[in-house]
């Protein structure tokens, strides 16, 4: 068991989501930074898709009621175990009664707490993610509250976490070749032109060339961007069609919406572009008020980035397992 000692609103249990039910209107949900969840789970010896806690409002703290392996990944900033300052992106073993505390991260948006054995909430339609819109899944279909107690599964990992912890070079550093840094303080987000791109004048120049700000009306469902409104040259009424996280729709007001993890499954607004899937975790770590720019990408580039991410995740898994085995052998 873990017990939530302190939490802000809208912190939820999430895994890698509930895909496969969009055809009955069920959003996939899942972590806004799925790469952080995968790496956190690998560090604590879980399957990549085990359920973790997504913390997007701080401060947050929880108490372990027994000896537990855990890791905090995703956001920057250093968690505390009782009074001891820890590293992010590092698995540790907590003793019964110890309290893990997360402060507001300096620059990023969402921290993930992975637990050895995973959070043992019921699997609903193949996932432990919380569906906030549907009010099911995760912890009783709702955000975490102070005093909530959540069961922890049994870890099947036989190799113990080293006494001083087991860390990784975080994705933003290890993959800096394929994930370019901020440009003039704006996050570059790669996207491909969408179905109604041609409706926007000058090859969508007003969309691609300006810096957008993530407005305060942004959440797990979508980010509303503020900037100079963009308008298509013709008005159309679209038939409802399936949409995905990353789709950038332009509602009548002209300020784009990027659908995120709790994306609606269907939409009808004109789509000017779609963020490439492997950039969504960076968008998931972008805070309200921060700025971003869309960069025109290609399928080939998206594929290359996907493959680099897959290699990194595989490398983390095989190397961390090998290191744990080697240390156990030498202990």
């Amino acid at each position: 068991m873990i017990e939530i000692v302190e939490t802000g609103p809208f912190n939820t249990v999430q895994d890698l989501g509930r895909p496969g039910y969009r055809d009955i209107g069920v959003s996939a949900s899942g972590a806004m930074d799925p790469l952080a969840v995968r790496i956190g789970n690998i560090l604590v010896g879980n399957e990549e898709g085990a359920a973790a806690i997504e913390v997007q409002t701080f401060p947050f703290s929880l108490r372990f009621d027994r000896r537990t392996v855990f890791a905090v990944t995703g956001a920057d900033g250093d968690p505390l175990l009782d009074a001891l300052e820890l590293l992010s992106w590092c698995a540790y073993t907590a003793e019964a009664g110890q309290v893990l505390a997360l402060k507001h991260p300096p620059t990023l948006a969402r921290a993930y707490v992975s637990i050895g054995g995973g959070l043992d909430v019921p699997s609903v339609m193949g996932s432990r993610s919380t569906s906030l819109r549907g009010s099911f899944g995760g912890n009783a279909g709702r955000p975490l509250e102070k005093g909530d107690r959540i069961a922890v599964g049994n870890s099947t990992d036989l190799a113990p976490v080293p006494a001083n912890g087991l860390a990784v070079i975080e994705p933003a550093v290890a993959l800096r070749e394929v994930f370019p840094d901020l440009v003039d303080g704006a996050l570059p987000v790669r996207a491909l032109p969408g179905g109604e791109h041609a409706l926007f004048p000058d090859d969508g120049d007003a969309f691609w060339s300006q810096t957008w700000k993530i407005s305060s009306r942004s959440d797990r469902t979508g980010y509303r961007l503020s900037g100079e409104p963009i308008k298509p040259t013709a008005s159309i009424e679209m038939r409802s069609h399936g949409i995905m996280p990353g789709v950038i729709q332009v509602p009548p007001g002209g300020e784009p919406i990027v659908q995120m993890s709790d994306a609606n499954t269907a939409g009808g607004y004109p789509k000017i572009a779609g963020v490439i899937e492997c950039d969504l975790w960076r968008l998931g770590q972008a805070r309200i008020g921060s700025r971003l720019r869309f960069v025109r990408s290609t399928h080939a580039e998206a594929r290359a980035v996907e493959q680099a991410v897959a290699r990194y995740v595989k490398d983390v898994r095989t190397t961390s397992e090998m290191v744990k085995r080697a240390l156990r052998a030498m202990a």
Partner: protein, 142 residues
Amino acid sequence: MSGIDFSDPATIAFLTDALTAAGVSGLEISRPGGQLRIVIATGNEARIDVSATSQPAPAAQPLMTVKAPMAGHFCPGSPLRSPAAGRLPRTVSAADILGFLRVGPVLLPLCAGRAGILTKQLAEPDALVGFGDPLFEIEPQS
């Protein structure tokens, strides 16, 4: 001396794995009473020599060392401390992270393990170090 049995095939397999993963071509470990040399040949097959030495165990030193827990690249410094904290000598507490051992994308934190004065760093940044290599010297505070 630790209880590692260098003649245990499993141990050697783990070490070989570690070396291969770290891209290391070989490793030589000298310990009181024994020496282990693993050379990764092309094709990832390891040649292993284990030999007893007649060297006596060195006398207990007043200095304590932080040693490499396995083979990897030495990364001194801690992300938790300001860069100014990198100067030597300096006072450290047991939980302080002095650096990391990097194996591929994995980082093993190197903790001081005891309170004292950190007097020396014994390996160059990014140097490839072997299991048991001394990395830091800590003088116990009296």
